[in-house]
Amino acid sequence: MQTELAALRTAAVAAIEAARTEAELEAVRVQYLGKKGSLTTVVRGLRDVPAAERPAMGALVNDAKQAVEAALAGAAERLARERLTRSLAEERVDVTLPGRARLRGHVHPLRLLEDEIVDIFVSMGFSVADGPEIEDDYHNFGALNFPPEHPARDMQDTLFLDAGDDVLLRTHTSPVQIRVMKAQKPPLRVIVPGTVYRRDELDPTHSPMFHQIEGFMVDERVSFADLKGTLTHFLRRLFGPETAVRFQPTFFPFTEPSAQIDISCPSCAASAADRTCRVCKGKGWLETMGSGMIHPNVLRAVGYDPEAVQGFAFGMGVDRIALRRYGIGDLRLLFDNDLRFLAQFEG
């Protein structure tokens, strides 16, 4: 039996090493260690060995079985390695074929910019307020110190609605100043993004509907110097720390003193204005915001005492800033909603 065992073992190990595929190896395994395998039969035969010889015989058989199993494991590992090597050598993906596309959405540039501006002001302690787009003469003009029949009203050609005498589409976001100040008491720091309307045809530089962001701050001591500081800080955050800012006198009925705010032209630098610059038309400066100290008549209209509180207000056109920021040459692109245009903005 010992001889038989030794021969079996040698034959098994040889067959194992000869196996070239995992299937062949499996066949060898079944041949020797399967239910009816030759080695299994030997193991089963141990029952018939006399009890005295059984331990010695058992050890021999076990030894043989372990050797065959070890050979099997070794061969299996070898074959798996060979298979891996083969697959690494053979399997190829054409990495230049297109990926599986997912639909990608996009945010409208006006909303991107509006969010950016609002977030800057929120970080400076301003809170967002809203108001109706359908307004009345009092909130849009009267309370904002536009006297009836004043040429200042010509600055804002108004769309009126067929709903009573003085119902109109707000021409600016300033009516929200009135609504917020009437509802709340100073100190106030408020920012108002919103849609506004003027009686203009849609053309490369005008639209009957556009977007403003209005803001104001009212407290006991807020000054014109604070206006300059706050808005300079804002403009540098929006347009970059190198941006030069200048304030020049202008007129708004609802502020006194009033200031127009220009920033240095990002294309040609205000210090060395390029006469041929198309962005600033050679001026070196770009008109960007309107601002001023809230007119005492406006403070009185909302029930504040102009001797006790003061504040500044400001506003800007989001659409025009968007044109510049994204290098858009025609305002109509913002409202055409051409997907080829919108797809150029982040999702």
Partner: protein
């Protein structure tokens, strides 16, 4: 307004570059829009004197002119222009000269006669409009002088944008005053020198003001023996450069004085003012008059008119009447200079649509002190130009109220410093206030300031504070940050929620649009959307076109329009949304502008990759978008209802769903009604959804706590039911959910099959049910029992043919 610098130089001397002047004006609030260099004529365009004009031997219409251009021999120049005569000084462009239009003059041969240059019209030199004849200079000029060296030819014209509060800037004098104020330069303000002759004006003319509230000051003069002729070149050139057309000597003179001193003036033909009686009154209702532009106008009682005893001869401050217009035969003039109430002039100008240089100035308030001065100026100028004789005396009526309503203004130094945020000593404040022409005297801790007559905009302390800041330049005010308590800025619920919705829809692959709030009445009627379903459309009273005739009831009208645009541009797939508003009046008559989340899908979804084909968008794409939106908003899918909607007008009745959250309708979705799609020339299936933004926000959980993760495995069992086509898959899900068995974790439809072996008219629905217990692993037996009970229940409930 256009300011020729040569004209300005008569009033103030500015030593420095034009660019520096532009900068100073801009920083003082008089925004310069541009500077145009004009009259920079080629030096080869010279003054020539015609020494002989002879007919061309070989051509009827040509003349051969001998022209002295200051050289040894006269040049021969051929011209076809009429009216040429020896002795005339004319402009000659020599060969090689470049004309303002860009053309270069060359020597030319006209039927055997060589022409050495070109006799120029004023149009060819860009000095006027007349192209019909050669310009003949008014004065004897030295032959050979380049035109560019003549006074007033070469100039710089500064265009300034005048804010509506600063009517005083609408004149050369006004701009000069500003320059003097900000630079300290001395202002020259010459008074008119007038020689009066003949009979007193009052013997021929009378003035009666019946509406002193609208016309507190009216002055008139008479000029006799005038000759109506074109004005000289210098005057025409000034008007042209200031942006006005030359008419005749008299009208040009009134315009010249207006442009120079800011006071609009009017000249009547005295012979056509009946009895020389001027009556300033409100129009009678129904009264009519024909204005200078030849239009007959019906007047209203708000209009202020200048009338004679027969009727109106001018719309005060707006436009003169045709009947009293200065004409070639006019020999005597009645000159008017008056102060009309700004609001009255504005009302009439707007009502009639006649916005003139005069009304523009009156609306912005003219200087009451200039009324008389300007009248004298224009009389003197007409006497000089049109050879008239100014009658002695001014006929006037003055209510005495002008200027009385402007008391001195208190200006506190402390208030100035507090508002501007920087300290100003009283002396400096006083110096600046005086620089703008105000008078001031000390008053307690400040000043008492009387603004000059031309500054009607200065009424309160803050107005003066702006002047103090402006004169030093806003740049000199420090830049500080407010001293205030630290507060946290709040984005607010609405904005936070809309950002969340936007993020989710973009993640679902949709592109955000911003569309105009307007639509036409027909589209508005057909597309109420969800938020606008009960709203009555609001019409725009003064729309620019029918496309902006109404405010849209739903953003849908904008998205549908954008779809059309994109299809025209060749798009094959449109997946878009808008966070916008609908507008209208609710049944109670209250104006509403509800916010909406509006979605539109149309076309063919682009293939995802190779081997995956493009698919037409269908209902399930739309529903998927809404499901991922609601899921992203943490709304439990079990609390979302999808009810067939039936007839809603703008949607296909068989492909429309009402979306409910926690039992409340928040929106609807479906295929655009085929009739509407056809009407808008859209493809057959356009999928749209509209959710009410406020309602959606109201039902979205405020805070989501994390659910504990399951600790034991789930077991799934499938079931399939063959049902009639009309049977809705959701009924089985609702039924299973209604069991509220905690061990039934979820149920979903995973197949809907039609075709063999299922008989026609029926379909097979396959569901997968997931079972799980929170505290143990369910055994097979337990799951089998649960599933069997479930099947039994469905069978009895729906009489179903179930297959496991």
């Amino acid at each position: 307004m256009h300011v020729p610098l040569s004209w300005l130089a008569e009033f103030v001397t500015w030593r420095g570059a034009t660019a520096a002047l532009v900068d100073r004006l801009t920083m003082a609030g008089l925004e310069v829009e541009g500077v145009e260099e004009v009259g920079r004529l080629d030096r080869r365009i010279r003054v020539g004197r015609l020494t002989a004009v002879e007919a061309h031997a070989g051509a009827d219409r040509l003349q051969v002119c001998r022209v002295d251009v200051g050289e040894r021999a006269p040049l021969a120049v051929v011209s076809a222009a009429p009216g040429l005569a020896a002795g005339q000084p004319v402009p000659v462009a020599l060969a090689g000269a470049r004309l303002p239009g860009g053309r270069t003059v060359e020597t030319a041969d006209f039927r055997g006669v060589a022409s050495a240059g070109l006799l120029c019209s004023e149009a060819e030199l860009d000095l006027g409009d007349d192209a019909s004849r050669v310009l003949v200079f008014d004065d004897a000029l030295a032959p050979g002088t380049p035109l560019v060296e003549l006074p007033g030819i070469a100039d710089s014209v500064v265009s300034v944008e005048v804010t509506p509060n600063r009517g005083d800037w609408l004149s050369i004098l006004g701009v000069a005053r500003e320059i003097a104020a900000v630079t300290g330069a001395r202002l020259r303000h010459p008074s008119p020198r007038l020689r009066e002759r003949g009979a007193a004006a009052a013997r021929e003319v009378s003035v009666r003001v019946e509406a002193p509230d609208l016309c507190p000051r009216y002055c008139a003069r008479v000029v006799r023996e005038v000759t109506i002729e074109p004005s000289p070149l210098w005057l025409r050139l000034r008007l042209r450069r200031a942006g006005m057309r030359a008419v005749n000597g008299v009208v040009d003179a009134t315009n010249h004085v207006m442009l120079e001193r800011g006071q609009p003036l009017h000249a009547f033909d005295l012979a056509r003012v009946a009895e020389g009686r001027v009556i300033v009154r409100r129009a009678a209702a129904g009264e009519r008059m024909t204005t200078l532009d030849g239009v007959e106008r019906a007047l209203v009682s708000d209009d202020l008119v200048i009338a004679d005893p027969r009727g109106p001869v001018a719309l005060a401050g707006v436009m003169g009447g045709q009947d009293s217009e200065v004409a070639p035969a006019t020999r005597a003039l009645l000159l008017e200079s008056a102060w009309f109430a700004p609001a009255a002039v504005r009302r009439t100008a707007r009502r009639t649509g006649l916005q003139s240089q005069a009304s523009y100035r009156f609306e912005r308030r003219v200087d009451p002190a200039m009324v008389r001065e300007a009248l004298d100026c224009v009389a003197a100028l007409i006497a000089r130009l049109a050879g008239g004789r100014v009658a002695p005396g001014v006929v006037q009526q003055d209510s005495g109220t002008l200027g009385r309503d402007a008391p001195a203004i208190r200006l506190r130094t402390a208030r100035t410093s507090a508002l501007l945020g920087t300290g100003f000593p009283r002396g400096e404040v006083a110096r600046r206030v005086r620089a703008i022409g105000a008078r001031c005297r000390p008053n307690g801790q400040g000043l008492l300031v009387t603004p000059p007559s031309w500054r009607g905009d200065l009424r309160i302390e803050e107005d003066l504070i702006e002047e103090v800041a402006r004169l030093g330049g806003y740049d000199s005010i420090p830049v500080t940050l407010p001293e205030a308590a630290v507060v946290s800025g709040e984005l607010g619920e609405t904005r936070r929620f809309s950002r969340r919705v936007r993020r989710l829809l973009v993640a679902a692959g949709l592109t955000e649009m911003v569309t105009l709030s307007f639509t036409d009445p027909e589209t508005n009627r057909r597309l109420p959307g969800f938020v606008g379903r009960d709203l009555v459309p609001l019409a725009v009273k003064n729309p620019l076109s029918s496309e902006t005739g109404e405010l849209r009831r739903s953003p849908l009208s904008g998205l549908v329009r954008a779809l059309r645009t994109n299809l025209d541009l060749g798009a094959t797939f449109v997946g878009a949304f808008e966070l916008g508003k609908g507008y209208g009046t609710d049944p109670g008559g209250v104006r509403r502008e509800p916010r909406a989340v509006t979605v539109l899908l149309a076309g063919t979804r682009p293939p995802e990759g190779l081997g995956r084909s493009a698919a037409a968008v269908d209902f399930f794409d739309l529903k998927g978008v809404l499901e991922s939106l609601l899921g992203g908003l943490d709304v439990d899918p079990a609390r979302v209802g999808w009810r067939p909607l039936g007839e809603v007008g703008f949607l296909h009745p068989g492909k429309a769903v009402l979306v409910e959250v926690f039992g409340a309708a928040v929106g609807c979705a479906g295929a655009l009604h085929p009739e509407i799609a056809q009407g808008c020339d859209l493809p057959a299936e356009v999928w749209v959804a509209e959710l009410d933004f406020e309602k959606l926000g109201a039902y979205v959980p405020r805070r989501v706590a994390v659910r504990p993760l399951p600790r034991f495995p789930a077991v799934t069992r499938d079931l399939a039911a063959v049902v009639d086509e009309a049977f809705r898959a959701g009924k089985i899900i609702e039924e299973i959910r209604a069991l509220a068995n905690p061990q039934i974790e979820s149920v979903r439809v995973f197949d809907c099959y039609r075709g063999a072996p299922i008989p026609p008219g029926r379909k097979s629905l396959a569901y997968s049910v997931s079972y799980r217990a929170a505290d143990r692993t369910l055994t097979d037996d337990e799951v089998n029992a649960l599933h069997a009970a479930l099947l039994e229940r469905l069978k009895t409930r729906f009489h179903l043919e179930l297959r496991v």
